[in-house]
């Protein structure tokens, strides 16, 4: 995928020009330039500013055209009025990708909109690609491309992971990244594309679909420009990897022009809902939901069906899980007698073996291992498992984390855990998470997470048929 219009230069450039760097380290251009000086970025970086001979101890160029070596990526942080000229210089220089951080385009009114039209014209007439304007750009921890202009001490940067995040909103991208860094959730690539004058969510889905470092694509959008293209690209992608979307803004712009009752819903959020369903995109309701699902999808395999096994040592928690399963269309089928017989041979008579399997307050580490082995790994009548641990009981120890991780490693079906409790529980939960098992503090969140794996499994099958 290294064609002339490829997006590769945005994510792994060998030479970057930062345009609009000054000696004031708090200026946007200077922060971005500083980001590229951090260890980890392997390419060359050149500061550009016609007013300076040197900045931050480095030689400064008056124009991108003055740089003698080739430049793949230019990051532009100059006032809006100067942007067009700078982009034209980049075209002349043969720069492949441009990220325009600057605002002052269609988001500000007719004058800005006209400026944005000029950018579109430049894209149409050359080989250059543009991310932005009015955006934060790209964060890719594996190549250390980081055009986010917020200082690291206030806005954390996540470690390398498998989730790629595409956001129309810069603020949402920024706060999410900060939160992910704090939570220890890794990221593959984060792209804030702002006004999307050239590169938009459809281009980015296409790129990330073929990106081996991305396992899950997460999208934040307030409105999709070309719904049909989005659906087509999503349908092609979900047979390779899941797409999660958060859609904000419930407009009814079409309703004014409607002639009949049917027409009043044009432009409504319900159409988005339908389009997401039809194209196999999983919609998250909010921030927490989004990242519970994204994390789970990046760690666990898709579920081959909707039959869930519940293993717990708390009867009440088990009932809550069964309720939550029922509400979102997951089944919790009773285990067949041959499986129950095996469990009964091993367990004391007061353990319940139906489903949920309830090991009660007498639960012990190996009991969970045995139940997982007989009723999940060796039995194909269930498609996923929720392990709900109440770690407060006497015989359960931190070793149960190893047992769950071991079962998860052996299984081609997903396992998620639910650990309810305080500090000790949180520590064990972290231990399970370190070994790749998603853990949630409430039954509802655990069920929603496994639901996303069931949905992903269904989408994979549907993708085959279409």
């Amino acid at each position: 995928m290294q064609g002339p219009k490829s997006l590769e230069p945005f994510f792994d450039p060998s030479a970057v020009a930062v345009i609009g760097v000054s000696n004031d380290p708090t200026k946007i251009g200077s922060i971005i330039f500083g980001n590229f000086l951090r260890p980890g970025f392997r390419g060359n970086v050149y500061p550009v500013n016609p007013k300076h001979k040197s900045v931050l101890g480095k030689k400064c160029y008056t124009s991108v055209k003055g740089i003698s070596r080739s430049v793949d990526l230019a990051v532009i942080a100059v006032p809006a009025q100067a942007v067009i000229q700078v982009v034209e210089d980049c075209v002349e220089k043969g720069v492949k990708g441009v990220i325009i951080i600057s605002g002052g385009f269609k988001e500000t009114g007719p004058e800005g909109a006209e400026r944005e039209e000029e950018l579109k014209k430049i894209v149409a007439e050359s080989n250059i690609r543009i991310i932005g304007p009015n955006c934060l750009g790209v964060y890719n921890p594996s190549s250390m491309v980081d055009t986010f202009f917020l200082p690291e001490e206030k806005a954390g940067r996540p470690k390398i992971g498998f989730i790629s995040f595409v956001s129309q909103s810069g603020a949402f991208a920024l706060s999410t990244m900060d939160w992910m860094a704090y939570q220890g959730v890794g990221i593959s690539k984060c792209i804030s594309y702002g006004n999307g004058c050239d590169v938009n969510e459809v281009d980015l889905i296409r790129y990330l679909a073929d990106d081996p470092a991305t396992k899950v694509i997460v999208i934040y959008t307030e409105g999709i420009t070309d719904g049909r293209k989005f659906m087509e690209e999503a349908r092609n992608t979900i047979i390779k990897k899941p797409i999660l979307v958060v859609k904000a803004g419930k407009t009814k712009k079409g309703s004014v022009a409607a002639l009949s009752h049917t027409g009043t819903m044009a432009g409504s959020d319900k159409i988005y809902e339908a389009a997401f369903k039809q194209s196999g995109v999983i919609r998250a309701e909010g921030f927490q939901d989004l990242f519970d699902m994204a994390n789970t999808l990046s760690l666990q395999p898709p579920a081959p069906g909707n039959r869930i096994l519940v293993i717990t040592n708390g009867g009440g928690a088990g009932v809550m899980i069964v309720d939550a399963c029922e509400i979102c269309g997951l089944e919790v089928p009773e285990l067949p007698s041959h499986v129950q017989r095996k469990l009964k041979e091993q367990f004391p008579p007061h353990f319940s073996t139906k489903n949920p399997i309830d090991l009660t307050g007498d639960a012990y580490d190996l009991g969970f291992g045995f139940a997982l082995d007989e009723a999940f790994l060796r039995y194909d009548g269930v498609d996923g498992a929720i392990i709900c641990l109440l770690l407060q009981v006497p015989k359960l120890t931190v070793k149960v984390a190893d047992i769950i991780a071991d079962a998860s490693f052996k299984s081609h079906k997903p396992i998620v855990a639910c650990c309810m409790g305080g500090e000790y529980t949180a520590n064990v939960a972290r231990d399970i998470e370190k070994r790749g098992g998603p853990v949630f503090p409430t039954p509802k969140r655990a069920v929603d997470a496994i639901w996303s794996l069931v949905k992903y499994g269904e989408n994979l099958k549907r993708g085959d048929k279409r």
Partner: protein, 232 residues
């Protein structure tokens, strides 16, 4: 491509007509295999009498005019017309009503339509969404759509599976599927959804379709009122 539909749309656009006549909308339905009530346009009382006897009583009389979209509001609809005497009276009354409420309206005639027996009512529609293009809508008629907004959508063209999902997804599905015995012919509803999807996919000129209501019986269904609007 369906020749009759193509002809109706072409002619309407040439004349600058963006709201098709109900008879035209129903002819299009018929060409696509969507079941509708029986109806014909009468230009005189005599014709109205003949048609009503052909169709069988009771009948419904409706004004046919390219300028009148909301027929009931103009006094252009009379329901449950039971015999020839009532046909003659109603024919005259509709023309008088419309002349009074909309004197400038061009009158094509009066449509004499079979009065479809009451049953479970559903709505099938299609419209042009600004982001996704042609979109299909489905809901249970009357209060369910208007008060509870119990409607579902899919972007066209839809597959059979998607049409099935639409029908099952409305909250009022149990009413359709046979709550207390009264069953409705769901497979015909699914078929209508697929045919509306085919129609709007064949003709991007169509901006809106409103088949409202459709009476669904134990076996089969009938579109009672049909509207089609074209893009300007």
């Amino acid at each position: 491509m369906k020749p009759l539909t193509s002809g109706i749309i072409k002619e309407a656009l040439e004349q600058g007509c963006f709201a098709l006549l109900e008879t035209e909308a129903k002819d299009i339905c018929k060409e696509y295999g969507i079941p509708t009530t029986k109806q014909r346009i009468a230009k005189s009382t005599i014709e109205a009498l003949e048609i009503s006897q052909d169709i069988g009583f009771p009948v419904v009389l409706k004004i046919v005019s390219p300028d009148i979209i909301h027929k009931t509001e103009t006094g252009g609809v009379i329901l449950d017309v039971k015999n020839t005497k009532e046909v003659a009276e109603s024919f005259a009354k509709i023309l008088a009503n419309v002349k009074k409420s909309r004197p400038e309206a061009r009158i094509v005639g009066v449509m004499v339509q079979e009065a479809a027996p009451k049953s479970t009512e559903v709505i099938v529609g299609a419209f042009e969404d600004p982001n996704f293009g042609s979109t299909i809508m489905f809901g249970l008629g009357g209060t369910y759509v208007e008060v509870l907004e119990d409607v579902v959508y899919r972007v066209a063209p839809i597959t059979k599976k998607e049409a099935e999902d639409m029908v099952r997804e409305i909250k009022a599905y149990p009413i359709l599927s046979g709550y207390r015995g009264g069953k409705a012919d769901i497979s015909t509803v699914i078929d209508i959804l697929l045919k509306v999807s085919e129609l709007v996919t064949d003709f991007p000129e169509i901006r809106e379709i409103d088949l409202n209501p459709i009476m669904v019986y134990e076996k089969g269904a009938k579109v009672v009122d049909a509207r089609i609007f074209l893009s300007k």
